[in-house]
Amino acid sequence: MNMEAFLNHLVAKYNFWLYIILMMIGLYAMIAKNNLIKKLVGMNIFQTAIILFYVSIGSKRGGTIPILEHVSGGAQHAIDPANYVNPLPHVLMLTAIVVSVSTFGVALALAIKIYQRYKTLEEDEILTRIRES
């Protein structure tokens, strides 16, 4: 019996599995990869996975985008929150996207500075060059 409970439990939350897998890929790339740029890409995947998680929190079945039609004359009929998607996570994720972009920018600038100095982006070559100098 619990197999079936487990199954529908699994199906009901498939989006959470997705973001965990994405995150693990990002984390793996960041730690294991040798080339700096690949690490950067891994970092970006890692951050987008979290953004996916947040956005999936706010979604509601059958909810439309949270823009309330501008009823002329302002007679406000009761807005039922059920049929609108929860806007808060979207706001948070605007910030998270901006943050990931700026971190990416700064990290790229650093990578260029390293390249200017060592003429390579492979981490092990850089370390050997450091040891020589």
Binding site: I20, I65, I67, E69, I79, P81, S102
Partner: protein, 267 residues
Amino acid sequence: MILSGGLLLYATKDFPSWGDPTSPASTHVSPRYLKKSLEETRVPNVVTSILADYRGYDTMFETTVIFCAGVACFMLLRTFEKRETDHYYRHVPTGITIHIKGQREIPIESKEFEKIDAIWTPYDLIINTVSRFLVPFIQLFALYVIAHGHHSPGGGFQGGVILGASMIVLAIAFNLRTAVRRLGERIDSIMSALGVFIYSGIGALCVLLGANFLDYKALAQILPIDRVAARSDGILGVEIGVGIAVMAVMICVYNNVASEGRYDEGL
């Protein structure tokens, strides 16, 4: 790494299932936004109202983050010392590039010759003309996106990025030198500082007028409108500030990263 993955899986056990409207997240705080935002800020797009008003403080720091990235790239990469290299010229009508070794400049001042930075800067007539034609429309659309953040999805960030992109199109199509000639580094940096300053300036203005920081209803005292309209105008003002800042930062980051801080040859 596997440990953290396992931990995450373990945690999902008692999450509310996906998308059900009764999940705590959407029952606790956000319904109020949905109900109240229209009659409080007269902004139909609830996301923008939360973005700029309810959690306006977050967004201010968000713009500061973008500003930090711009300043960081400037500081890390920008080098001011001029490298004495040989000079390149292109004969505009025929498209031939001339490479002069040593420091001598070309004596004749004629319209046909155009100074370029590197031998490989691309030159393609079609792309140049099309991009020169297209850029104004991109900018127009970007302004629309900023202004209409209230009604349709959009707002300061998205509009700012599109504006920045329009300038970068120029830099790519032509070369960095022409893009920099259109929007110099000095003006660009000042605009980035100005944009964020507008945002926090409006917030500080509310403090001067007595209300809490970023409380736009205080603007009603100086603007000839009632308190709720003041909120939506406050949001608009803030959106404009954000747009300017984001555009300037995008351009500054691109210029620095593309030319490794020397601002001479383009991609």
